[in-house]
């Protein structure tokens, strides 16, 4: 049976530049609905990239055997491209991203399940999902890259509704995740569930007036803003005219957006990207101006722009460009009593133009503590960024977003 270094050497001997990306995952999951479905997962896989004379070959598998032959088949069919180059090594400053091993993670899940039981006393729980995982990532190449990292992640999510005498609320989701179990604030989830019970325990009303501005919670922003912005801030999409954003344009002087992979406890933190290059903090929007697009080695070389080390992949695919943790900073403070906490249908947006038309399924009036029936929110990414009036509350992590709630005007809410 082959090992990574043998395959790399064999490729080198045949005259190829080569790189292996390996991921090894061990995970325990508990999923509770009407029935429990619990899993113990072990997975290992390898992605092999080879380059010769500008031609690129790729193959993946759960075993290394025959991978090189498959990659050579791919290479023979591919088109020559002078920007197909593997990166050279750079110094990586390792962060500690592993906070538990899998058996400790499983014990922690059992503790978290007590919170799930408490929430079941408050609202009608539809499903609970717990996960604890250890992930080992390794990148080795003929160019001298040889980096490896262990990461942990624990997460909890819950879907529930609130039933009153007259109606049932829409399904409400809560989610929390961290590399470090100590950072999971379960009380905050319980407080939120209590608030939802109070608000959705009353009859939902139809919003009669047209709104000029609303407050999006961090969760709603993670659902709406993050996918649209992530696509639009890719250097590949910028180069190919598939983004509404333009370099150098000022969108909103109050706004700063940073891609920050260095927050060690955040779910998407990493010491290096999936090409083995050191993580760095990238300011994307500075004082409201678009100053940088995210890139990987290929798109950096092709466009002559900085490599932001934003390569992302799993072992079965070639590297693509993806943000790590998007940190949003807004100077001014602002408040609005209408709160949007959950949107649905974001995947129906046009990611090339930034246009969206989504349903805000969880919306309430903070002051009057009453919920509204579903609203339609439509506009485009630029309107969304341009319309940010100010921040409300402290920054929170939700998925790969680190942001306060934001008050936004100028989008169509009806």
């Amino acid at each position: 049976m082959s090992d990574i270094y043998t395959v790399i050497q064999r490729a080198k001997d045949l005259g190829y530049s080569a790189e292996i990306f390996m991921a090894e995952l061990e995970e325990v999951q508990v999923k509770r609905e009407k029935q429990y479905q619990n899993m113990h997962i072990f997975e290992r896989g390898f992605g092999l990239r080879i380059i010769k004379d500008g031609k690129l070959g790729f193959a993946y598998g759960n075993k290394l055997d025959n991978l090189l032959d498959l990659a050579i088949d791919s290479l023979k069919a591919s088109k020559e491209d002078k920007f197909n180059i593997l990166p050279s090594p750079e110094k990586v400053n390792k962060m500690n991203l592993k906070f538990f091993d899998i058996s400790e993670g499983e014990e922690r899940i059992k503790e978290l399940m007590n919170y799930g039981n408490e929430i079941r006393e408050i609202v009608n729980v539809i499903s609970e999902y717990y996960s604890a995982l250890n992930l080992k990532v390794k990148v080795v190449s003929t160019e001298g890259i040889d980096v490896e990292e262990d990461r942990s992640l624990i997460s909890f999510s819950i879907a529930y509704n609130v039933k009153s005498d007259t109606e049932v609320s829409p399904e409400i989701y809560e989610y929390i995740a961290s590399r470090d179990p100590k950072m999971l604030d379960m009380e905050k989830i319980e407080d939120k569930v209590m608030l939802m019970r109070k608000i959705y325990g009353r009859k939902r009303e139809k919003l009669e007036k047209k709104l000029t501005s609303v407050k999006f919670t961090t969760k709603a922003l993670a659902e709406l803003l993050v996918p649209l912005f992530s696509s639009s801030i890719s250097l590949e999409n910028y180069y190919r005219g598939k983004t509404p954003l333009k370099e150098g344009e000022t969108i909103n002087p109050s706004l700063e957006i940073i891609d920050n992979p260095l927050m060690s406890n955040a779910p998407y933190s990493r010491s290096f990207d999936t090409e083995g290059l050191p993580s760095k903090l990238n300011v994307l929007i500075k004082e409201g101006k678009v100053v940088k697009f995210l890139s990987n080695t290929y798109w950096s070389l092709k466009t002559g722009k900085e490599n932001t080390h934003s390569s992302s992949r799993n072992y079965s695919t070639l590297p693509i460009i993806s943000p790590s943790i998007l940190e949003v900073n807004v100077k001014e403070k602002s408040e609005n009593e209408i709160v949007i906490d959950q949107v649905q249908g974001v995947h129906t947006s046009n990611f090339d133009t930034g246009e969206f038309s989504v349903v805000a399924s969880i919306t309430w009036n903070e002051k009057e503590e009453k919920a509204y029936r579903e609203l339609t929110v439509s506009g485009n990414l630029k309107d969304l960024l341009r319309g940010i009036e100010g921040k409300s509350g402290e920054k929170e992590i939700y998925g790969n977003l680190y942001s306060p709630s934001l008050v936004i005007k100028g989008i169509n809410v009806s």
Partner: protein, 448 residues
Amino acid sequence: MNVLKKAEELGATFADIRFLRIRDLVLTVTEDREIVSTNGIDEGFSLRVLYQGNWGYKSSTGEPSEEDVKDAINVSYGDEKVNIVYMPPKKDKVEVKPKYDFNKSIKEKLDDLRKIKESVFSLSDRIKSVNIRYYETHYHKEYFSTEEREIQQDFVISGFSIVAVARENDVIASAYVSKSTYQGYPLEVFNMSEVLETLKRRIDGQLKGKTVKAGIYTAILAPEVVGVFAHEAVGHLAEADLAINGILYEKRGQKIAPEFVNIVDSPSLDYKSAIGLTLYDDEGIEGRDAYIIKNGVVNELLTDRFYSAYLGQKPTGNARAEDFRYPVIIRMRNTYFMPSDYSYEEIIRDVKEGVLLVSPRGGQTSPDGTFQFGIQEAYLIENGEISAPLRNVGISGYTLETLGQIKAISKEFDISPGYCGKDGQSVPVGVGGPYVKVEKMKVGGVVE
């Protein structure tokens, strides 16, 4: 199967194991790149034990061993309430042979894609970028259970998508056409001239299209949109795991739509895009047609072994998993409205002001019955005639209200392919139906 015997020895009342081998090829051609994006083999197993009334899974990319049985039993904790339907012993081998062979080399397939790219650019000089993605996924599945069921299945799902972005002055248009099939090499299964015509029509429609004023309209849903409605707005509500917390469970046996409305989920259909092909599901159960709505009445729900027992309903064969990494959950297969008596012309003739919704850009639903779809190709109807293309339309509403608003269903019928996401798992599905006229539908526009 030694691990299944070991599971029984250790006290499991039931155990099954799924082996999956997926041979995957993905090719990408853009305006200036030709890449083999994915080429490889994904192989592993998922062992499941029912131990003291709880499920425990062990999934791995390795070879199954007695240690894996112990791991599965170790995670089988819960409320000890799992009860399932048991099946009689059965051995079967199913091979769905493609009508059009895949016997071209990777290079030849890339050559075919390059020709398509050139044809796309020849459609209009306003097209600035194109992304063509070709895929073929060869499935080899084996299923074994302690009931002595041994099922083997081999089939291929393949397809392509073409996304083109055009620019005219400051207006950006982005449109796509996506096709998938179980019948073989997709560039031969589908008529590529028709595909390119469709792409051109969508690009032109978006560049010239006007934004519809948000409001309530009479809507004609074309087969692609009807399919997404059948899938998103009705089918998901009929998945028993969602239904028990949703609106359909309590409506079983009740009339919720006109008598001419019938919605079915089928394991296989003789349509080239019916990629929800599931002759046996991932619990080794034979697939059968499930009549979700029959003559306007909620008839039955889609089930797995657990929910068949829970509801006292005959198994439908809807338990599916994306691959060995995931647990089996209830999924749709090919979901569609059945056709009725009207012609398309008759349906559109008496619409004074309405919208024709031709092609969706995805959709979503909630168990409480709300749905939301994006639409990439739509037209304004005025006095019974198509008057203008519309740009970036969205529709939303309540399933029960919308079903009640159906006034006519056409004879014309088609099935489209899709990939459905649920609980982080994606599986191929077919969706479809005829033209359906909805008297009142909430249509949302985009502020520009």
